[in-house]
Symmetry: C2
Subunit: 212 residues, 2 copies
């Protein structure tokens, strides 16, 4: 991994994810090179933004010829860590957790949910796909034995922080949080929040403002 | 709706959603007033940030006494548009769409999914909960007849823009997008994107950077 990738801003990383998606689509359609304008068009961004985002990755593309779809796809996969298989533990086997578990693109991208934890005694011991659901008392040993890299939190808000404290103590450095609460974490743990309600309420706020 | 609510920044609106969640928790625990410090503590923000966010709503709280939980809950519900029932159409009855449909907090917040559209002939005519799934050819008449306010897009990326163009032409002004694509929309349509993969890839980027 090149040293300059240490400095890519979060917003750029998110757009790189989108560009990768578009490049894969282009690749499947047999397109071998694309101009920044084509990526911008798909992404609702400007060509200048695309060029600036990709400049974090080094020097690509030839003036007038655009970017090689195969080359840029490979570089983006590397930068986004998709050349590795990541071992993921899912905390919470409720509706959200189950939908995430079954979401096929996660696995296709190398995010392999190997471990599922729930505190419901009726769920513990039953299976999600081919994974046996384990109880919360097994959290630490499961994270260790399954060599977990990344934890997805899909438990109710009230229990999230307590579980996450244990996850952090166990040495996990990346957490994807679906619980509707702001988690407190040490600075060296990467956290991303996905909220089902916050985005929806931001829209109802916009609608209210419109009709108010 | 007061005029000053027109100017609340997006990031603040998102935090207001979180504060509302915390206030409801406090209310259920029998707490009647809270200091900005308590909201900050729950939200991982600073008390100054909380006070600044709430200042957009007017003048609340008494120095030394904090905020009335009931009053602030009511104000936030109003600002976030949660005193209304919003009629929601779901485009796409796949795994994500089904999980969203079954996500109980949506309904509890007044987001009522009355309409489900899918293009799979095997799904059209069958039911999701008590809603009959309708075909894409019924999109325009369903949006009109069901008086839809807000559309959730949970279809594959390749078909999303085409469907959304029809949704916009039908007059819908708020779209929550789960499709992994950047939608192009007129400025007067509110759009929020929720990505399953972008956040996860942002974490694998962080892990790669760490170990690279």
């Amino acid at each position: 991994m090149n040293d300059f990738t240490k400095r890519i801003p979060d917003a750029t990383v998110r757009r790189l994810s989108l560009y990768l998606r578009f490049l894969e689509d282009f690749g499947r359609s047999g397109v071998t090179s694309v101009a920044s304008e084509a990526l911008a068009e798909r992404g609702g961004a400007t060509a200048a933004q695309v060029r600036k985002d990709l400049s974090y990755l080094g020097s690509f593309g030839k003036r007038g010829l655009g970017y090689s779809v195969a080359e840029l796809t490979g570089v983006l996969r590397g930068v986004l860590g998709l050349d590795s298989v990541w071992r993921v533990a899912l905390l919470g086997a409720g509706r959200i957790g189950t939908a995430l578990f079954e979401y096929e693109p996660f696995r296709a991208r190398g995010f392999n949910i190997t471990t599922v934890i729930d505190n419901d005694p009726c769920k513990v011991g039953s299976h999600l796909g081919d994974i046996r659901i384990r109880g919360e008392d097994e959290l630490e040993c499961a994270l260790r034995d399954d060599a977990i890299d990344l934890v997805i939190v899909a438990v109710p808000a009230v229990v999230a922080q307590g579980l996450v404290d244990r996850v952090v103590t166990a040495g996990i450095k990346a957490i994807l949080n679906y619980a509707p609460t702001q988690l407190r974490l040490p600075d060296d743990v990467a956290l991303r929040n996905v909220s089902m309600l916050v985005e929806l309420e931001s829209l109802s706020h916009a609608l209210t403002r419109r009709t108010g």
